[in-house]
Symmetry: D2
Subunit: 337 residues, 4 copies
């Protein structure tokens, strides 16, 4: 059995996923595409020699009988409508982040999915599929370091474009830490406070960079998360979990070791696309496999998407107020356990 998939949005990320499913992964095939730019959609079909129909819009694509699952890779504001339509049609959905642009939107999806009565949605938080994070998770779950007490992490980009604004440090950057950290320690967030260190000269006038987020979880774990998007030296993701018995830390990406010109060291990635390239593959393969094997996706749920939205809202508020802001996440519905 092959999972027949329709893609809503054939921009950069949509094309990447189409290529992945067509050329690299097993068990899925693209049978339908759509894009607000119909020519773009047609071009993708040609480029990858897809045996796929170009639909006029998301509704038509979702309605197509041979579409088992939908990939939502349109721009953020369009996500909610497509996901809700897919749920109504009982189709599986893989939705790139954000699930919806507001917490309320995410909650509408959660409620629709619960009403439908079956988990259909996976949100594209790929870090949970990264080998390093998976090893961290295994170590923590196996009590290697005892109870986690603190997390120190950093998300650094060499530079960002001039459209990148201070709140995007949360919604575009920290959002990945927000998803992966609560999963890592199996806890929910309680409060957040933001500190603005001295600003780098490499940031444009409108952008606060770097930023430090102090986040507290319900059980009291203290997270210090640095976001620094003009760090110049590389794309660098750090995560260290300090527990009662020891510490575990993300590995550096695999690199040969060089001795040259009085330096001994490894290469740091410059392009974020290279950092989680394997995770994207594993993520989509798991989406395909888990649907085929268990009848539902196995990855980050709508509820996780909702948590990310609520937490991001609080982080953005904390950026604005300078105060410690409460993160109010309701109890997780049994449906998502």
């Amino acid at each position: 059995m092959t999972l027949k998939m329709g893609v809503i949005g054939t921009g950069a990320i949509g094309r990447e996923h189409i290529k992945r499913i067509t050329k690299k992964l097993s068990g899925g095939t693209i049978v339908a595409v759509t894009d607000v730019n119909q020519d773009a959609a047609k071009k993708v079909v040609e480029e990858f020699s897809l045996d796929a129909i170009v639909y006029p819009d998301d509704k038509a694509l979702i309605a197509a009988e041979n579409v088992d699952a939908v990939l939502v890779t349109s721009w953020g504001p369009a996500h909610e409508q497509s996901v809700l339509a897919a749920i109504e049609a009982g189709k599986y959905v893989f939705c790139e982040k954000p699930l919806a642009t507001t917490a309320a939107g995410c909650m509408r999806i959660v409620e629709a999915e619960m009403k439908y009565g079956k988990k259909l949605v996976q949100v594209g938080f790929m870090r949970r599929y990264d080998s390093g994070y998976k090893q961290l998770k295994e170590a923590i779950d196996s009590h290697l370091i005892g109870e986690p007490l603190m997390i120190h992490c950093a998300h650094r980009n060499p530079e960002v474009g001039d459209k990148y604004t201070t709140d995007m440090a949360v919604t575009d950057t920290l959002i990945h830490e927000i998803d992966v950290l609560h999963w890592l320690v199996n806890d929910d967030y309680k409060s957040v406070q933001v500190v603005y260190p001295k600003k780098t000269k490499h940031a444009l006038a409108h952008l606060q960079d770097p930023q430090v987020f102090m986040i507290e979880t319900n059980s009291g774990i203290s997270i210090t998360a640095e976001v620094f998007v003009n760090c110049k030296y590389g794309y660098d993701i750090q995560c260290e979990v300090i527990g009662e018995e020891g510490i575990v830390k993300l590995p550096e990406p695999l690199s040969i070791v060089t001795r040259k010109e009085a330096k001994l060291g490894v290469n740091i990635l410059m392009d974020w696309k290279d950092r989680f390239i394997d995770a994207y593959d594993v993520e989509l393969q798991d989406f395909i496999d888990s649907i085929k094997e268990t009848g539902k996706p196995n990855g980050p749920t709508s509820w996780d998407g909702y948590i990310a939205a609520v937490t991001a809202d609080a982080c953005v508020k904390a950026q604005q107020t300078g105060e410690k802001e409460r993160i109010s996440i309701p109890e997780k519905p049994e449906f998502y356990e």
Copy 2:
């Protein structure tokens, strides 16, 4: 277009490849299997729900019209006959090492392939597809370290079974270094000498372990290759290339970093299967892709298989004589450039 593949030999490695092609990779499908144990072949078809015919023997499988490519994963002594038959039938072949059990056998394959007039055969030397080795190769090819002068490498297993004999240090273990090192520095081997260090108490009486191979290339590169198959502490592959301007070294496998009980460090793999697990995937995907895109496999050739056999023969002779033995590799036919 899907590459339709037949598998000759459904033992451990055959089943791994079937699983890989069926569950993980893109663009290939298993349409035929055979094994000297027909029940085993049938069981594999069931286990993976293959839409595949079980053939009575390799000849029948190769003759099947819908078989585009053959995977030879039978036991070593049977390889040559299957590969020759496939070439005669003009079918693509992916053959696990060894290509043939003798250099003469490898040469018969080389000659058959040249006579057929088209590259059909890829030998299963997966290290060339390992991310670390690929980074080494890129660094050397880009002259990062200038001319390579020396290579220090080590191949260590935690332990081996009682069937493992002294010559298998060459034919089962060093054989991977033999393939990957000449590719890495784009050179051929000239001589080899073996030194037997003090024997570990963990080796059985009949086995010399560890062993050190001193290999010289045509251009004068000096290789010291340690083989140590009862090293106890882990499965560990080391490779360091010393050039005129600097040194490059294989990375350690990706592992979280732990601080616990007065130790700071990473995990070492114990199981060799984990070390090159990604390389196996990339290797087979490349076999499928390159055939589909260019009409011929892109990986290690029959000629590489022949080089490995000739070099291994000299290494085994050097084990027996204790002398420096010449490695006589003829000039590479233009066909294989």
Copy 3:
């Protein structure tokens, strides 16, 4: 010329310094000792075969004509009086931390020294003499990483005794970071806030452990300093300075690299005494040398002692209030430039 030194306080640290000066360093000799426990003082003279007189108290020792310099290694509350007496007598002073137990006491010493008109006092903050911190300082001063923006550091002990109280996380532990960090970035502190993460089960009921201090400098550098004194796994000092162009980090202490039992790693120290053992030597040798060569000590000054006291007071207040507390450090007197 040999610097003739008198030691006030022959407890553990006093004896260590006596041993150091007598057995390891050059250019200094112990000619006088005193201790509230006169027997202890006599015993030390015997043990190290010192050619030294045992004085009844600090005043008598300081008054001794052949005493050029005084080492104050008594218990903290006694420091101020001895240092003031030494200044009045125009004797050099090496005073172990704290210079005085209150900021006011430190200021009295500062004023006495300025009144005397010559720098006489060095405070025993040894980290500035540690090879790793010196390398950090050189890197920062040479603009290797551009302007420093953030510092992430950690001070971890395997465990502490039951007398260790929450405020001692500041006065006994963080105090070393307080001294070394402002020196490292050549800046003064402005505010501090304390976060209490989930408490480790290894801490006694009365002790908050771990703690995270968020400290801001005048120029806006943001410091996150973790103090964790029951971390179990080792004595571990981490310090990472993030600048506009890159990052520098303290090295791990020198340790052989071991591969054994599926682990690759280095040893972590368990005893804090081993961590800065070389720094203590360099510190005291520098005290002796700089007095002999330039007529005044070269290390941390009374002013540095005062800064540490003011900052520690604010940190302890921040522990109690949970609020961001201002650190008010007056402008540095020209005398100390």
Copy 4:
């Protein structure tokens, strides 16, 4: 009690030791100096304000009644005569390498010392005092890695002057490995063979560089020692001991860790003088202390100097013959146990 020392040879290394003893170490003082260039000797006395007499030659210096110990830091060919004279006079000797320029000369010293009946001589092999090598030794002695089976080591210099000849790879460079390795594994050498890899373009015409020495010990430990004196990238000393249960390796010299311009790494030393700078201090302090505390030096003995000479002779012969050459070391006299 202060050890009163006379220095024979006030060239670069002599001055370094004088400075060390005068400015850094404890318990020794320079009371006498001599040099074939008397002006140089006088200048040193002035430069370091020594309270020392300048003697016309080594005999006169050795005869001086107030000289307890002699430092032989003249040029190599003069060592034997000075050491023999010192032994005859019953004076302690610290002799820089080589103890004598021939094995026969070393043996004459050994015999003289045995005849005198007391250990007086220490040879300046400083690596045994290096923190890294000491940790290796402790690990091996404590059976952390079981029986040692192999040693892989490398001695690399960025470059050498035009006076450096092929045999100096042994007598000036490998000589340090020769001393430290047999001490490390408590074994004697049995044979050596030399392999010349492809020559670096950075070596002058008359110099073979790099070179690989295959050395075997009596118990069968196999040593591969690379000497590469124009490696360009740094001064780099590597040593890895492979045992039955695991591996231990020298640490890299202490360096801050930098992230900058897509590289993560540490600094490599360029100047050999920096590598063992601490070891020189510890070595001489130990010479002084052990004489004062036990009446005899504690470091590398005349016998070690003899072993080095015999082994170096065999290595040079192996360079010339290309054959495996026997290293014939007589049984160690009980006197040196």
